[in-house]
Symmetry: C2
Subunit: 335 residues, 2 copies
């Protein structure tokens, strides 16, 4: 029941392991008959090369690591699908780890992936991550790295993100032109790059239409289950907004639920638009307007850059940040 190895084949056919290896690998420097013999026997015995031995020898694994905050999040699972599609076609495995928004877990994940000799790393930062020295360290080691979605200014590396500014700008502008004046912005922890960019888009839209920027209308919200609810209740009670623009998948849902729970009519009393990749947005009550990120494409682009780097196809390419346009879907919740 034990797996068959090159040694077993060599012994069975009275050859050396070198010869068997040659037969299995490239065809050069080998008698065609010997090669055939080996290949047939290997086939018959269902020989499968041991990737672990290979990894030890070659110091690589034909696998790439992916670290995301949470796969139970549409954006990330879609991004992973993009990553996987490309990686699979190019002969790489994808090893997925979740940080669960914890800095410590993220560092651990990165370390483990490096220990396991992944050929490259794709990461979207946790909500707690401010210090990126763990990434700088692997960069110093020469491990190819691409950061996507949630990036950091502290590291010079290829990045792939949605055009968060544009999306937020368009969402806010839409709310403004449809007559809203007090637009609350419920957003993620201020550490995140996405938070900054979306806030900037929000501000820019206000500015364009000469609306005042009121700090009290902007709320940062962490990842605790009940947090969004509290924040929404508070902002509704104290600020009386006539519109809400939320900045993430999870926040869109929790906030939407909270507003409804409070018995406030959407969009009559408060218009609502969410930055989210929820597939069910059009089925909600009322149908939810959304800014959608091209998650699959972000994943796809990120992994393409990573694999090109791994395979030395971008030797002299400068490090850059790729912005992929977002898409706005206007529905009843914001009319």
């Amino acid at each position: 029941m034990e797996a068959i190895t090159i040694k077993d084949i060599a012994k069975a056919l009275n050859l050396s392991t070198s010869t068997v290896s040659r037969a299995l690998r490239g065809s050069y420097e080998i008698n065609q008959e010997t090669k055939k013999l080996v290949l047939e026997y290997a086939e018959k015995m269902n020989y499968r090369p041991n990737p672990i031995a290979l990894s030890l020898k070659e110091n690589r694994s034909r696998a790439i690591g992916v670290v995301v905050p949470e796969i139970a999040n549409n954006f990330f699972s879609q991004a992973i699908n993009g990553i996987e599609a490309v990686a699979y076609n190019r002969g790489y495995h994808v090893v997925i780890f979740q940080s669960h928004e914890l800095y410590g877990r993220e560092v651990e994940n990165v370390q483990h992936l490096i220990d396991r000799k992944v050929d490259g790393l794709l990461i979207s930062l946790s909500g707690q991550t401010t210090d990126v020295s763990h990434l700088l360290a692997i960069q110093a080691k020469g491990v190819p790295l691409v950061v996507f979605d949630r990036v950091s200014a502290q590291i010079e590396v290829n990045k792939v993100v949605a055009d968060n500014f544009q999306g937020a700008f368009q969402a806010t502008e839409h709310l403004i032109v449809s007559g809203r004046k007090r637009i609350a912005h419920i957003t993620s922890p201020s550490l995140l790059s996405t938070t900054h960019e979306r806030l900037a888009g929000y501000k820019a839209a206000l500015e364009k239409y000469h609306l005042p920027y009121d700090q009290n209308l902007v709320r940062y919200c962490g990842f605790e289950p009940e947090e969004a609810r509290q924040v929404i209740f508070e902002v509704l009670d104290t600020q009386k907004p006539d519109a809400i623009f939320t900045a993430s998948d999870r926040l869109a849902l929790d906030s939407f639920a909270a507003v409804k729970a409070k018995g406030i009519a959407i969009p009559k009393q408060v218009a609502f638009i969410g930055f989210t990749n929820l597939g069910v947005a059009h089925l909600l009550d009322p149908p939810l307007s959304t800014v959608v990120q091209p998650a699959f494409e972000i994943g796809k682009t990120a992994v393409e850059i990573l694999l090109d780097t791994i395979e030395n196809k971008r030797m002299n390419a400068a490090v850059k940040t790729i912005k992929i346009p977002t898409e706005v879907n206007l529905r009843e919740s914001s009319q």
Copy 2:
């Protein structure tokens, strides 16, 4: 920048690799001073053991493999979270592969995980899988295996599933007692164990209330994007049901959307209840009644059995199938 190894430490401290290994591992048969010296140096140089070398030597990896159809599916991502939570606490890594509902991909995934010497395997079958010889093969090899959610009768192995019969029975019963007579059941491919069990629950409820079982009201539906829509349209047009009970996460959504697209009032004209783990069910229009599977707990239970098997903690335990109760949430869509 290269990673430091035991050899490097040995050379630096003028010791043999054996001694260094001993110092790093168990403390027996080693001078306390030598040990301290080694540990300090290792710490200073940031030594990390090479798990690949370990895997090669010990023929195991301290990792378990998980094969699921699709992570962009609430049920599976929640199950994975359950798996991960337990595995992490017990010192195992989790390697996630997706079959994307393809039999070929599933076989490949299993093979790759075995090649990579996972200590055990958790799998939920693809929608195409009828032949489980790939699982029988690894079972014969002695690799610990637990099948969850979508199982197969063809293999005797520990299984963890939701109580699909109960959930379907309760859903159907609820529709019946609230006055519905022609209840359509939109379900997954007939190969799946979950499909059978849910259909059985549906039938049993009809029987209990002496309603006829009409084959035309039951529709099997594959995984193509437009398929559910077509099926729903057809069944609505030709069968005029007064209720719809759907059998999966994806089908619930697609069917719900299709019914609404057709302009049919829920629940007035057609009552609707879905077997789904959607987090947003209560926010839909109208709020969607659901049968919820304890996904996290299924994952948790499955991995506990697997790890116990790996660690020989269930030597004489008989193979069994664990059924975990489902939960019915009644909302407006089915009143």
